[in-house]
Symmetry: C2
Subunit: 288 residues, 2 copies
């Protein structure tokens, strides 16, 4: 092994550790924020329950699940997995000419009980093969028909926060990431969008990895700060059976997307990830 190659490996290792550390901090921040909202004005303390799992083939993770009164279902998951790359796990990406991979990531999903409060999802990841890069995104899904429009105040707050996370970084083009998101969260067979978008990126690797890592961290913080605001403004609103029925209906669309089109779900299932973590994105109660 020559010196240059060895330096490159050392640098990659440091960045891997930094990514893991950022994701752990985000997990703490996100879980504590959601618990705070869940337990506001309540004596009963609902908390995230943590489960550690190991992956046959290499690595493992930690799933954190909350089933509450305000937060009907939430999953905040960390994982670091590595080993042989199963055929087709990275889609049909011909540029990845290796059979080994290492990946670390955080994924967050929140399905609140109050139909006025939108569901949100975020994930951030670092993938290492013969090269390394970052991917992820965050998006919002209002569950009432009347709120499923770009002018909805919650959606505006969410988009603003994502724009804010992007704007600090010259190499990040917010409009492109927003466009990616709209393209990605699309339910082909219904010819409709899953939600109202956000940002989505993959194969991110700018000249300064430290900037990419700061960007990931900003996405995570902006995500949870804006979502806290959105949650707090909605969870006391009165709702009835009709609102609930509408919510369960759109949750069905959410399931259709996740099981039929979501690459994260497919990657997770194909690489022998933890099923409960992967499918914890599915809403608690759904109707068709």
């Amino acid at each position: 092994m020559n010196k240059l190659h060895s330096l490159k490996l050392e640098e990659t290792k440091k960045n891997r550790e930094k990514a893991q550390s950022i994701f752990k901090n985000l997990r703490d921040k996100i879980c504590s924020t959601l618990e705070e909202v869940e337990n506001q004005g309540s004596h009963k303390k609902n908390s995230f329950i943590s489960n550690v799992w190991n992956r046959k083939g290499g690595g493992g993770g930690e799933s954190n699940n909350l089933r509450g009164a305000v937060i009907e279902k939430s999953g905040v998951h960390l994982s670091t997995v590595f080993g042989s790359l199963p055929l087709g796990a990275l889609d049909s990406d011909k540029s990845v000419n290796t059979d080994q991979f290492w990946a670390t990531g955080i994924s967050v999903i929140v399905h609140p009980k109050n139909p006025f409060a939108p569901s949100v999802h975020m994930n951030l990841r670092m993938l290492v093969t013969n090269d390394y890069w970052f991917g992820g995104g965050a998006d919002i899904t209002p569950m009432l028909h009347s709120k499923r429009k770009s002018s909805d105040p919650d959606t505006l707050i969410f988009h603003d926060s994502m724009r804010h996370a992007c704007e600090k970084y010259p190499s990040i083009k917010y409009e492109k990431l927003k466009e990616n998101c709209d393209e990605y969260f699309y339910i082909k067979h219904r010819n409709e969008r899953r939600g109202l978008g956000g940002i989505f990126f993959d194969k991110l690797k700018s000249e300064e990895t430290s900037q990419d890592l700061l960007f990931l961290n900003d996405v995570g913080y902006n995500f949870i700060e804006s979502y806290k605001k959105i949650l707090v403004s909605n969870i006391s609103k009165d709702w009835n059976d009709d609102h609930r029925a509408e919510q369960l209906h759109y949750r069905g669309r959410y399931v259709e997307f996740n099981l039929m089109y979501d690459k994260g779900t497919i990657f997770g299932l194909k690489t022998g990830g933890n099923i409960d973590s992967i499918l914890s994105s599915l809403p608690p109660i759904v109707s068709w």
Copy 2:
């Protein structure tokens, strides 16, 4: 066109019409039987609601949906579709070297309300490309853990009826069809079966097409006769919230299979079928 070819086309046409006629009769029989069970001892008459749809590209169908008190959700659908065959619609079947198809079929799904009553599914179809053949199957899915075993009385009744439908026909090997079914309804990522099986067949074409058509008809009749017996014996049983929770849980597995692995769903969506018919297999209320 030579005479032999012309005779063959004429024969195929007759068989297509016979298949359509058999499926229509079965639709009548199945809908009336389910309505009878739904409305037993009740003044309120819940009936199937029929909707006709046309397919862009050729053909169309009729979906019949019931949302009742006993039958929480049921779909009984007929369709006859034809035109150009979308790439990949017939899986990776290299033996089909044509780009035109004609298909007619019936599909039935029943999700009863009482958690003690199992869900069932059946579909029968005739597919014509440069050749023609039959496919289909019927299977049972108990939704309580305690009933998810081969010795469960409902499952025994169901399997007996399928065996009975097969045994009259020397070219039909029941054990093979049962094995196919177990293989097919398998949720790979969970390493578990969707339900408790039944029969499943494809590319069926014996020397006597009239016998194949009689077999399809027998599968349909045996299916609804045995299921009526199973329904009637379960719908008066007392159930509580725990039973319901278990039912919603296993319905989630049902959704996972249908959206991720079911070839009928994939074929339907890829050939521009009617989404409401295709996805009417999804249970009314589901939990994860």
